[in-house]
Amino acid sequence: MTTRIDRRFAALAAENRAALVTYLMAGDPDPATSLEVFHAMAKAGADVLEIGMAFTDPMADGPSIQAAGLRALQAGMTLKKTLALVADFRKTDNDTPVVLMGYYNPIYVMGVDKFLAAAQEAGVDGLIVVDLPPEEDDELCIPALKAGLNFIRLATPTTDDKRLPSVLNNTSGFVYYVSLTGITGAAIADYGKVGAAVGRIKGHTKLPVAVGFGVKTADNARQIASQADGVVVGTALVDALKKSLDADNKATAGTVEAVASLVRELAGGVSAGRKVAAE
């Protein structure tokens, strides 16, 4: 069984181009704007949408994504409404892969079976749940795989060769390599190490490897795209959205375009990256 994620990565590989994977929080700053922004991102060149599920205690996130989660929660966002947002998105876009990213507690509280059924119904393709390492695979990973969803795992600089097989074992869709030990929004110290790390992971898996944490500009995206199958951008997009809001954190006429224009720039960087590598 293939998902939209599998098909998208296969198509891009055939084009010899890396995927641009973009993250924004569902419902930031409100559900209606959020839906518009996700459509605009897909049109502007985002290949895979990562959609954040708001949580009060995002332990692996930096200040930008923490604040985005709070804006969404203040706008009344819940896990149910996040799933409804994906269902709305699917009404007019049946191709762009959607990955939900967040923390386990809201899913656990909804009930794993109920959540998985609702996610499939809504048109979700994959899940990234930060606080579920392989040691807790029975909780959600195995049931999600059985339900036909991809379970995308993070690999980090601390995931050594001994541990890598257990991390990759039940991973599907793609592997998300976190380029640094730290929280979202920090800066990559050394681009030279990224290629080697991607190579190390590829030695253990046939899955595409996307790299994230610290990618902010088109130039960063170009550098990563030349060394990986995908480039993940989150905080920079969250910041661009935040900058477009008014003093009360409400959307303005410029909000959708603020995000879309950065996505276009990043997509340009990603395309340029693969050309350089091919030469």
């Binding site: 692996a60 200040p63 507690n105 606080d131 795992r153 050594d160 030990t181």
Partner: protein, 405 residues
């Protein structure tokens, strides 16, 4: 209850770090290798007599253990029922039970070659204990503390700074203990190579709940010997306050398989259990969820968003509880009660006036329930309460609540 009563209540956790369904290792991948290293280092230390000898030496010469078991005669007389003993862990160096755990973890950090120690703190007692041990061993110490708690626990902030620690006021969320723990976890993810996270309570990812419990169990081991010496028999009941629950599990654990001993934990009921988001009683008012590395009872809304909780005591004002307590509640071995801010304040004053002991606001919650339970019990009922901290840190906050003194 469908659940079968286990043969022993003291053998947990299992290999997956679970107490029944509670506990576990719900952390980001970045931390996972370190948590496995920590588990291996602790398992190794546990079987090393030199590790235990070092702790025992520190207990005697640095902490001042054993802490006395003290018969509170005037309180007993006043209540007119059960004979009330205090296990006096407030007499420990740094003024609370926290040092028992910290010394164990710092010795382990030294064995693992870690030079930088981080900690979260609510009331500041764990922060002070960590700063103390770091000063003693020449380790860098960074303490995360909610900005609200920095304000209400000024004396402890000063003590930590005097001891050479960096205190980082946390501005996210409700700016209390939960947020301090989030920030400490973010630091740990970032500085995972050189940093040891010294968690202050019997919660967090496995092996912390078991490890912290083991280090705190000295309280219950001593209490058992002392009460046997004083009364010639086991106590009829033991009681302690619960935030995360480390002082309580430390007292309870050596008694869990003594079926004749009734065990009571006391949560913080704040403004009252019926006040929405006005208390910190996760067992009484919460349900199972996953936060800060473990599954346990949590205060949260229907969407699984964590609530802030409230208690007059900065040490109890946490929306979760250690996973072993969650399990002990579900299997029915421990009875969990709760005391309001008001009841704790009354107990704080009564104890000061009758016994010449100013309790911390945290054990004042346990004392409030002693005041409720003891009068209904016969005079030959022996009850041991853990006086887990002294109240010096709280006198200004209490004065404010009582309208100045």
């Amino acid at each position: 209850m469908n659940q079968q009563t286990p043969n022993s209540f003291s053998t947990g956790p299992d290999d997956h770090g679970r107490f029944g369904i509670f506990g576990g290792r719900f952390v980001a991948e970045t931390l996972m290798p370190l948590i496995l290293d920590l588990e291996a280092a602790y398992e190794q230390a546990k079987t090393d007599p030199a590790f235990h000898a070092e702790i025992a030496h520190l207990h005697t010469h640095y902490v001042g253990r054993p802490s006395p078991l003290y018969l509170a005669e005037r309180l007993t007389e006043h209540l007119g029922g059960a004979k009330v003993y205090f296990k006096r862990d407030e007499l420990n160096h740094t003024g609370a039970h926290k040092i028992n755990n910290v010394l164990g973890q710092i010795l382990l950090a030294r064995r693992m070659g870690k030079k930088r120690i981080i900690a979260e703190t609510g009331a500041g007692q764990h922060g002070v204990a960590t700063a103390t041990a770091c000063a003693k061993y020449g380790l860098e110490c960074v303490v995360y503390m909610g900005a609200v708690d920095v304000e209400r626990q000024k004396p402890n902030v000063f003590r930590m700074k005097m001891l050479g620690a960096t205190v980082v006021p946390v501005q996210s969320g409700a700016r209390t203990l939960k947020d301090a723990m989030n920030e400490a976890l973010r630091d740990w993810v970032t500085n995972v190579e050189n940093t040891f996270y010294c968690i202050g309570t019997a919660a967090g990812p496995h092996p912390y709940p078991a490890m912290v419990r083991d280090f705190q169990s000295i309280i219950g081991k001593e209490a058992k010997e002392q009460v046997l010496a004083a009364e010639g028999r086991l106590p009829d009941s033991i009681i302690a306050c619960i935030g995360g629950g480390s002082n309580a599990i430390g007292l309870f654990h050596p008694f869990l398989d003594d079926k004749s001993v009734a065990i009571y934990g006391v949560e913080a009921a704040g403004h009252g259990l019926n006040v929405e988001n006005g208390h910190a009683a996760s067992l009484a008012g919460g349900k199972p969820g996953v936060l800060h590395g473990n599954r346990t009872y949590l205060l949260m809304d229907d969407d699984g968003q964590i609530l802030e909780g409230h208690s007059i005591s900065a040490g109890l004002d946490y929306p979760g509880i250690g996973p072993e307590h969650a399990w002990l509640r579900d299997v029915g071995r421990v009875t969990y009660l709760s005391a309001t801010d008001k009841e704790a304040l009354a107990a704080f004053q009564l104890c000061s006036q009758l016994e010449g002991i100013i309790p911390a606001l945290e054990p004042a919650h346990a004392l409030a329930k002693v005041m409720e339970l003891a009068p209904k019990l016969p005079r030959d009922h022996v009850m041991v309460m853990n006086m887990c901290g002294r109240g010096d840190k709280d006198i200004f906050a209490v004065a404010e609540h009582l309208g100045g003194m």
